[in-house]
């Protein structure tokens, strides 16, 4: 599975507006075998999981580690491994689908809609608080803390410069350039 991306959209996506965030799923459409993000101009094919499940995972990822400066595509990249795991391992697939079903059931009873369609982040977080002790949440959280933050494409958005040895380190590139003290 690959992220299909329109190059004109990619790096220009910096900070997201509050409205977009609070209605996270609204920007992602489910079509056929893929999810399409019209605002960010990318699509993601789902193989083992349904596009609806992938869309839910993207919303879940943002709710776990919400950074307004990160576009949805970074969360999509961070959770796409679950589609691959589900393709290779029936137990992993059942865990993901079961976990999503649990979130949706809680959301249906409290908000009359699926988890990913609950409009306010705070309401979705309240749903997640009921599920955070479970294996599904733990697995998604544990994977995401690596897959989201170990993506070199997100580092510049946090002011982290990554590898430096090939550039000669920082001895001539600002290791002691602080001026505001």
């Amino acid at each position: 599975m690959a992220i299909i991306q329109n190059d004109t959209a990619g790096s220009a996506l910096g900070r997201r507006g509050f409205l977009k965030t609070s209605a996270a799923a609204a920007a992602i459409a489910v079509t056929g075998g893929a999810i399409i993000h019209s605002g960010e101009a990318w699509g993601l094919e789902a193989k083992a999981l349904t596009p609806a499940a992938m869309r839910t995972l993207v919303v879940l990822a943002r709710d776990i580690f919400p950074h307004d400066r990160l576009a949805d595509k970074f969360y999509a990249v961070a959770v796409k491994g679950w589609d691959e795991k589900a393709a290779a391992d029936a137990a992993a697939k059942a865990m993901v689908l079961g976990g999503i079903a649990t979130l949706d059931a809680i959301a249906q009873s409290s908000h009359g809609t699926a988890y990913a369609d609950v409009a306010w982040e705070a309401d979705r977080v309240a749903i997640l608080r009921q599920a955070e002790g479970g294996a599904f949440f733990q697995a998604v959280h544990g994977g995401l803390v690596v897959s989201l933050y170990n993506n070199p494409d997100v580092w510049p958005l946090f002011g982290y410069q990554g590898e430096s040895a090939s550039k000669g380190g920082y001895v001539k590139r600002g290791f002691n350039d602080i001026e505001w003290l």
């Binding site: 709710d63 776990i64 580690f65 919400p66 950074h67 400066r69 977080v125 955070e132 959280h141 803390v145 690596v146 989201l148 933050y149 170990n150 997100v154 580092w155 946090f158 002011g159 982290y160 410069q161 990554g162 590898e163 430096s164 040895a165 090939s166 000669g168 380190g169 920082y170 001895v171 590139r173 600002g174 290791f175 002691n176 350039d177 602080i178 505001w180 003290l181």
Partner: protein
């Protein structure tokens, strides 16, 4: 490269190639003694190291199975990873940050100085600072420690400047860029620090001292030292007289080999060393080799640690430059009026974004957590390292179920914080936060301990055989030709980062072993 025969029973066999084993092996080789170092990990050189936290962790970290228990938070957060140490030639000197501090005089007399602290198994070392001083001098010289031997201090990076400014506002006096075994100018065939950062991932410039680049090659050049990587030691064998005779290990293909030995020195760090002695139990030594005292594996110490990160209004870029070249030493004294025995250092520390996410508050999620990471660029960081109390019940045992891939019992690490440890950590969190608040931090984060990098005390040194595992030379009380050469010898943990003391002890032990061999006493 020199190769010694498996049946050559005239060699000294050292288990482990880190600060203790790598130094000891090099010194023995230079003294003309044939030496084999068995290293569990592979050999990586400077060009193999990567400036990438997770990739480097995968390359260098010891991730063989281990279990944990106890009330320390590492058990909850990283149950299978009690320690962040290295499995590679050079051991954890590949990963260490370079801080090289001598112990204070009173720290060798912890029981006398601190008194009888409930629950603490305090004991005075059988050596004094006076006895160690010449060995510290030799260690500082060979390691090129800054602020010794006329070597200038490293320049301060942004993270240090924040620490220094805050500490001075609080009235702290002993604030500087540390005594670091990282070249501030070219020395010993190695260049000066390029302020790369990534000190923990293996120094790409070679400015940082490690046994991998600064010791072992010199030992090998004598023709008396053979380092065998990918050699996981399984057990130490002995003869009917109770003398160590051979070391059994699994080679790179998993095939068991037996290297005969005249002398054996164990230097596998404070989890593996006692595990090996326990796994070497025999009918003559049913509780494990050199364990007549019952102290093998006990008194496990890991330093009272924690971190404080502060977020400021403007950028710091703490990750640029030498990771730990910055220290506040004013709290290192023993001053019970603070509510605890012993002292602590505050040292600059930074993590890259990937590890900051993993370690800032493991398990956390939501905006409270992510808003902290949103401040990454404006963050400064420091590490707390203080003396923790030895407790008999904090110990390494053999896990009854968990095995390594050779079927040997894995180490189980039990650790409970002592009340003294908790009081010290809380004091340090307060002072660390105050340092950053003094220079305008908008938020500070008292961050829990990481998996242990300083693992100490599990084969403690004692004057009397009943109180510990080794004597003042690191020679086991029970087996004359068996030595312990790593930080597991430490009787107590002291405040300071341990590597300089491990190297000083190994240098001293090499002279002792050479002398005992010359006199045919071992």
């Amino acid at each position: 490269m020199t190769k010694f025969d498996l049946n050559d029973d005239s060699v000294v066999v050292i288990v482990g190639s880190g600060a203790g084993g790598g130094t000891l092996g090099t010194d023995l080789a230079r003294a003309g003694i044939k030496t084999v170092i068995l290293e569990a990990g592979s050999r990586y050189e400077i060009e193999d190291f990567v400036n990438d936290e997770w990739a480097s962790f995968g390359q260098l970290a010891w991730t063989d199975p281990r279990s944990t228990s106890g009330n320390w938070r590492v058990h909850k957060d990283f149950g299978g990873l009690p320690a962040w140490i290295v499995k590679a030639v050079g051991g954890s000197t590949v990963h260490w940050a370079g801080a090289s501090l001598r112990f204070q005089e009173h720290e060798f007399r912890a029981r006398t100085t601190y008194g009888d602290i409930a629950g603490a198994n305090l004991l005075d070392w059988p050596v004094t600072l006076d006895e160690m001083a010449p060995w510290y001098e030799k260690a500082e010289f060979r390691m090129g420690t800054t602020r010794t031997n006329g070597i200038p201090g490293l320049p301060g990076n942004n993270n240090f400047k924040v620490l220094e400014a805050g500490a001075k506002k609080l009235g702290y006096k002993e604030v500087h860029t540390g005594r670091m075994s990282i070249n501030s100018e070219p020395r010993d065939g190695r260049g000066a620090c390029q302020q790369i950062g990534f000190c923990f991932q293996g120094c790409k410039s070679g400015a940082k001292w490690s046994t991998l680049i600064a010791e072992i090659p010199k030992g090998e050049a004598t023709g008396n030292l053979e380092v065998r990587p990918d050699s996981q030691v399984i057990k130490i064998e002995h003869d009917a007289s109770g003398k160590a005779t051979a070391v059994v290990y699994a080679d790179k293909d998993g095939k068991l080999q037996r290297q005969k030995a005249r002398v054996v020195a164990v230097a596998g760090n404070s989890i593996e060393s006692p595990r090996l002695l326990l796994n070497s139990a025999s009918s003559m030594f049913p509780d494990g080799l050199a364990n007549s005292s019952g102290q093998v594996g006990r008194n496990y110490m890991r330093h009272t640690t924690g971190s404080v990160y502060g977020v400021f209004e403007k950028p710091v870029h703490m990750y640029r430059g030498t990771t730990m070249a910055g220290i506040v030493q004013d709290e290192a004294r023993h001053d019970p009026s603070r509510g605890f025995a012993g002292g602590y250092e505050l040292e600059t520390l930074s993590l890259g974004l990937p590890f900051m996410a993993a370690f800032l508050n493991p398990g956390a999620w939501g905006r409270e957590f992510t808003s902290a990471l949103d401040g990454y660029e404006n963050m400064a960081g420091m590490w707390i390292v203080g003396e923790d109390m030895p407790q008999e019940t904090n110990r390494i045992t053999l896990d009854p179920k968990l095995k390594d891939k050779y079927g040997m019992a894995a180490a189980s690490v039990h650790f409970d914080d002592h009340a003294n440890d908790v009081a010290m950590r809380n004091h340090a969190y307060g002072q660390g936060s105050a340092i950053y608040a003094a220079v305008g931090a908008v938020r500070t984060f008292p961050t829990p301990p990481y998996p242990s990098t300083h693992n100490l005390g599990t084969n403690r040194m004692s004057a009397k055989a009943r109180d510990g595992v080794v004597n003042k030379w690191g020679q086991t009380h029970d087996v004359k030709n068996l030595f312990v050469s790593d930080g597991s010898q430490f009787t107590t943990g002291a405040t300071e980062n341990p590597t300089l003391t491990i190297v000083a002890l190994a240098t001293r032990q090499a002279a002792t072993i050479a002398s005992l061999m010359a006199k045919n006493e071992i």
